[in-house]
Each structure stands twice: as structure tokens, then as C-alpha cells.
């Protein structure tokens, strides 16, 4: 069964450093997403991406964040200068469509710890 994969599973970084979280969406999917989940809290939408551009983003997704699809398979989330409050699980998701009923498939997540 096809699945979304993410690397690394755990990333530890110093405050102020840049991190890049990587995702490989399901191969025939066209829509890509990043969500985050701070420990013990609900999953929060960050950004959606289609046709090589951001199609929707939340207020969390400020200038410190960027996304990219550098090739035909990877989808990355970059945080330019990490803050302590960026510590969270980051989930990538992909879907075939954005129509109602277009299921989003989630990856296993990357745990980001900012020290």
C-alpha cells in the first residue's frame, strides 16, 4: 500500500539554526500539506501546495517557513531560524484531489526538538 514517508524521524537543533524536513508524498498525488502538532495539543494546518506554489497557508506559516518541491518526488519544509516554540511533530500529507472526499494521507511525522 502506498504511503507518505518522512525523514528524519527526529531532528534536534539549536535555536536560530535552519532545519529542512523532508517528505516523499504518494506518487500519483498532486496536493501536498504540512501540519504540526505541539506535544499534547491538536494537529494544526500549516500550508498546502499545488502546482509548485502555495495554495493556502495558516497564520502560523510566517516568513520563517518555506516549502519547496525540489524534484518530482520530494516535498520539503524549511524553517530558517528555529525558535523554541517550533518544537513539535511535523506531519506531511498528500492527496489526490481537493474535492470533498479527497482523503489526505499523513506521514509518520518528524519530531523537531529546538534547544
Amino acid at each position: 500500500e502506498p504511503e507518505v514517508t518522512q525523514t528524519p524521524s527526529h531532528q534536534v537543533t539549536q535555536m536560530g539554526q535552519e532545519v529542512i524536513l523532508r517528505c516523499v508524498p504518494i506518487s500519483n498525488h498532486l496536493y501536498f500539506y504540512w501540519y504540526r502538532q505541539i506535544l499534547g495539543q491538536k494537529v494544526e494546518f500549516l500550508v498546502s501546495f499545488y502546482n509548485n506554489e502555495i495554495s493556502e497557508k495558516s497564520e502560523i506559516f510566517d516568513d520563517q517557513f518555506s516549502v519547496e518541491r525540489p524534484d518530482g518526488s520530494n516535498f520539503t519544509l524549511k524553517i530558517r531560524s528555529t525558535k523554541l516554540e517550533d518544537s513539535a511533530m511535523y506531519f506531511c500529507a498528500s492527496s489526490e484531489t481537493v474535492l470533498v472526499g479527497g482523503e489526505q494521507f499523513f506521514g509518520p511525522g518528524t519530531r523537531l526538538t529546538v534547544l
Binding site: 507518505v4 496536493y31 500539506y33 501540519y35 495539543q41 491538536k42 494537529v43 494544526e44 494546518f45 498546502s48 499545488y50 495554495s55 493556502e56 495558516s58 506531519f91 500529507a93 481537493v98 474535492l99 470533498v100 472526499g101 479527497g102 482523503e103 489526505q104 494521507f105 499523513f106 506521514g107 509518520p108 511525522g109
Partner: protein
């Protein structure tokens, strides 16, 4: 504004019993709802969805009920098994170009053997 919330943070159920997880939403315009299961250390996993033009949908051992009058939905799990232990989130997605899924706060289901 959008708000999807859950009534209880933790639910303990005996193995074999039925589980009912409840969720309230505040946006009357919400038209598509999803239940996700999140096991420890994993990402959310789609369980079942329902559109606002329906009031009930059944899957394998799961049923989702939607009451638009009181803006409430529930997830029923029949014959709960230890493998059902997880956090369950109700979520909303508008579709039609609105791509984000808005999650509720989650209910932890504990199955007692």
C-alpha cells in the same frame, strides 16, 4: 469562526464493548467531517468521513453520526479491540478548493483487556 472540539479527553472502554466518541463543531457552514485515529508515534490515519447532506455513515466496525441541528457528530466503534487504543480526532475539511483540515483536540481511547 471555525472550531471543532471534543467533549472528553479520555475514554476507557472494556474490550468487546462499544465505544462512542463525541465531537461538537461551531461553524454551521461546515460541510464535511472526518474522523482520524492517531496511534502513539504515528501520523493521523483516516477512519471514516461524512458529508453534511448525510446523517449516518457506516464502515467496518465504525459508524459516524451527524446531527446538524445541534452541530454534533459522533464516532461509534463496535466491539472495541485493544488495537483501537489511540487518540481520535474529529476534523473538518471544506473541500472545493479549501484544503486545510481543521482538527479538534482529540479523545484518547483506552481499551481495557
Amino acid at each position: 469562526g471555525e472550531s471543532v472540539g471534543l467533549h472528553l479527553p479520555t475514554l476507557s472502554v472494556q474490550e468487546g464493548d462499544n465505544s462512542i466518541i463525541n465531537c461538537a463543531y461551531s461553524n454551521s457552514a461546515s460541510d464535511y467531517f472526518i474522523w482520524y485515529k492517531q496511534e502513539s508515534g504515528k501520523g493521523p490515519q483516516f477512519i471514516i468521513d461524512i458529508r453534511s447532506n448525510m446523517d449516518k455513515r457506516q464502515g467496518q466496525r465504525v459508524t459516524v453520526l451527524l446531527n446538524k441541528t445541534v452541530k454534533h457528530l459522533s464516532l461509534q466503534i463496535a466491539a472495541t479491540q485493544p488495537g483501537d487504543s489511540a487518540v481520535y480526532f474529529c476534523a473538518e475539511n471544506k473541500g472545493g478548493g479549501y484544503q486545510k483540515v481543521t482538527f479538534g483536540t482529540g479523545t484518547k481511547l483506552q481499551v481495557i483487556p
